[in-house]
């Protein structure tokens, strides 16, 4: 694997995660618990779509096979998707969505902070722009973690149960393979071991303030690096890609 191929693979991981979690958030449109939150979720989804476009566009350029961001988003199949498993988990109730978003936002916050220093100028530029947005997202989801965790007994239980259910998907956030190894060596991507420490510290702080227990789940589900997803992704892609695929070559 050369550097270009490693970057391509890495950009798919970042871009697909943004695409899929943005899709999930957008499913809330018109159904949020309060109008302000409805707007916040669509707004965050919009940031993710923008971020996806930039990442996949650059991925296509590096791959140099004539695929643009839409071709990559709409014409790949399930097994070719590299998004983290946590991002494709269905919304559940508002507590589940917030827990999923908080765990992912925290990861993205530290990861993109690291990527801002990437030796690849395009990646560094995308990361710098996105990091500003993620900072707001993380503040937003952290506040909801406090409100739900330390709100009523019902909200606390819902959030604790969401966190417990999601915990098995958190280990793969920090999985590294030869792609990471090469990119770390070349100064393109940060070492996820460092991100993990920062993530754990922050998650512990927020959980403590939100009066949540750290889950004791030992099972860890992984597989996104090889495109081994949960059963949910197929349905999500079927919905997302259907129109684009139903009219091959059409311009929209």
């Amino acid at each position: 694997m050369n550097l270009q191929q490693a970057k391509f693979e890495y950009l798919l991981r970042l871009g697909d995660s943004s695409l899929i979690i943005g899709h999930r958030l957008s499913e809330w449109c018109g159904h949020g618990p309060i109008l302000e939150e409805d707007l916040a979720m669509i707004n965050i989804a919009l940031d993710f779509v923008g971020n996806t476009s930039e990442l996949l566009k650059y991925a296509g350029q590096l791959e140099d096979k004539g695929r643009d961001e839409d071709e990559l988003a709409y014409m790949r199949d399930e097994r070719e998707f590299r998004n983290l498993l946590i991002t494709e988990q269905p919304n559940g109730d508002f507590a589940f969505t917030i827990a999923r978003q908080f765990l992912f936002d925290t990861y993205m916050f530290f990861l993109y902070e690291g990527l801002k220093a990437s030796k690849d100028e395009t990646i560094a530029a995308i990361a710098a722009k996105s990091h500003k947005e993620i900072t707001y997202h993380l503040r937003h989801t952290s506040e909801w973690m406090y409100r739900l965790g330390d709100g009523t007994a019902e909200s606390h239980d819902r959030l604790q149960s969401a966190v417990n259910d999601l915990w098995m998907f958190t280990a793969e956030l920090f999985d590294m393979d030869e792609v990471d190894a090469l990119l770390i060596k070349e100064g393109v991507a940060p070492d996820l071991n460092n991100i993990k420490t920062e993530w754990e510290t922050r998650v512990n702080e927020v959980f403590a303030k939100a009066t949540l227990q750290l889950p004791t789940t030992t099972f860890k589900q992984k597989g996104s690096r090889e495109g081994k997803h949960t059963e949910h992704l197929g349905f999500l892609l079927a919905e997302m890609q259907y129109l684009h695929r139903a009219y091959p070559g059409a311009k929209w």
Binding site: H23, S26, E27, C29, G30, H31, G32, P33, I34, L35, E36, E37, D38, L39, I42, N43, A45, L46, V49, G50, T52, S53, L56, E69, D70, A73, Y74, D93, F94, Y146, R147, L148, D150, G151, T152, E154, S155, R158, E239, M240, Y242, L243, H244, Y247, G249, A250, K251, W252
Partner: protein, 313 residues
């Protein structure tokens, strides 16, 4: 006697073009009518998020997805803005939403039609937002300060949506035969509901004289409808689509189009609750409210705890 003097001053103010502000004296009928209009408008914005939101997850490319997300977000923002404007007249949002959920308050009849294809997203921006702008630019000159200022801002964003919707239609009309058919089908389905959404014809629209004098209503429904049709027909022709009205004719003498007979039975039927999506739209809103109750309670409980902490500290 006192009230008669106040009324005189109130009307003088309106006549000289000075806006009425929340703390100013106003006749109860004026306040009531404004609350009715503003809440109906706000409800339309948030119910309108549903038919458009229906296509966010299926938008045909990332650019269109981003534009649609931004548009729907704008609509929700308008709702928020209008609820706040209505609150300046002493009714709070919870109360207004309650009226929506019980069916006491209405929202625009147009959102009771389904978005069946992607072209419907174009048709809504082009026709529905296009018709709304005709109404709202007039309302921006209205006498109640908070509402007229809200309209100025909302119209700017709606103009943008209107162009984006037309651009979707143009792209489809210039696309493959299937895409063009999709665009024509959307125009066929949305044309009459858009023409009707501007309200009953003047001979069938009560309550107008006083409201016009008070600058709550600025123009008659038929006048606004005429402007909408005059503006939209050439746009359809330009992209090669046919307006589904065989009686539509341009009248050289008046410089306006004359249109075929409007099916007002359908309009009043949809208003009454018998449109294709009335039940679903209302259910979606009620469910969102119900499912969000525990979230709102948690937020209130959390805030109360923080206040208590401060008191102790």
């Amino acid at each position: 006697m006192e009230d008669a003097k106040k009324l005189e001053a109130f009307e003088a103010k309106i006549n000289s073009g000075v806006k009425i502000e929340p703390k100013d004296w106003m006749p109860e009928a004026y306040r009531k009518q404004l609350v009715r209009m503003m809440s109906q408008h706000a409800h339309s914005e948030i119910v309108g998020m549903l038919p458009e939101g229906n296509w966010i997850t299926r938008a045909p490319n990332l650019r269109r997805k981003a534009i649609l997300l931004a548009k729907v977000q704008d609509e929700g923002g308008h709702g928020l803005y209008l609820y706040s404007a209505a609150e300046t007249l002493g009714v709070d949002r919870t109360e207004l939403l309650e009226q929506l959920h019980t069916g006491k308050a209405k929202y625009s009849s147009i959102f009771n039609y389904p978005t069946l294809t992607w072209a419907d997203i174009g048709a809504i921006g082009w026709l529905v937002d296009g018709a709304a702008i005709m109404n709202q630019t007039a309302l921006a000159r209205g006498s109640y300060g908070p509402y007229s200022r809200a309209m100025v801002r909302i119209c700017k964003e709606e103009s943008f949506h209107n162009r984006q919707g037309y651009e979707i239609m143009m792209q489809l009309a210039q696309g493959t035969p299937e895409q063009k058919a999709m665009a024509q089908d959307a125009l066929n389905r949305w044309w009459w509901p858009a023409v009707m959404m501007l309200g009953p014809s003047d001979d069938n629209s009560p309550n107008s004289e006083q409201l016009m004098r008070w600058k709550v209503k600025m123009e008659s429904n038929d006048a606004i409808r005429e402007r909408f049709i005059d503006r939209t027909v050439p746009q359809a022709e330009f992209i090669g689509l046919t307006v589904p009205d065989k009686d539509l004719k341009f009248d050289e003498e008046t410089g306006h189009y004359t249109h075929g007979k409007i099916n007002w039975d359908e309009f009043f039927d949809v208003i009454k609750g018998n449109g294709p999506c009335n039940a679903k739209r209302l259910k979606d809103r009620i469910d969102a409210d119900k499912n969000g109750k525990w979230v709102r309670e948690a937020a209130v409980a959390y805030a109360a705890k923080r206040v208590k902490e401060k008191e102790i500290a």
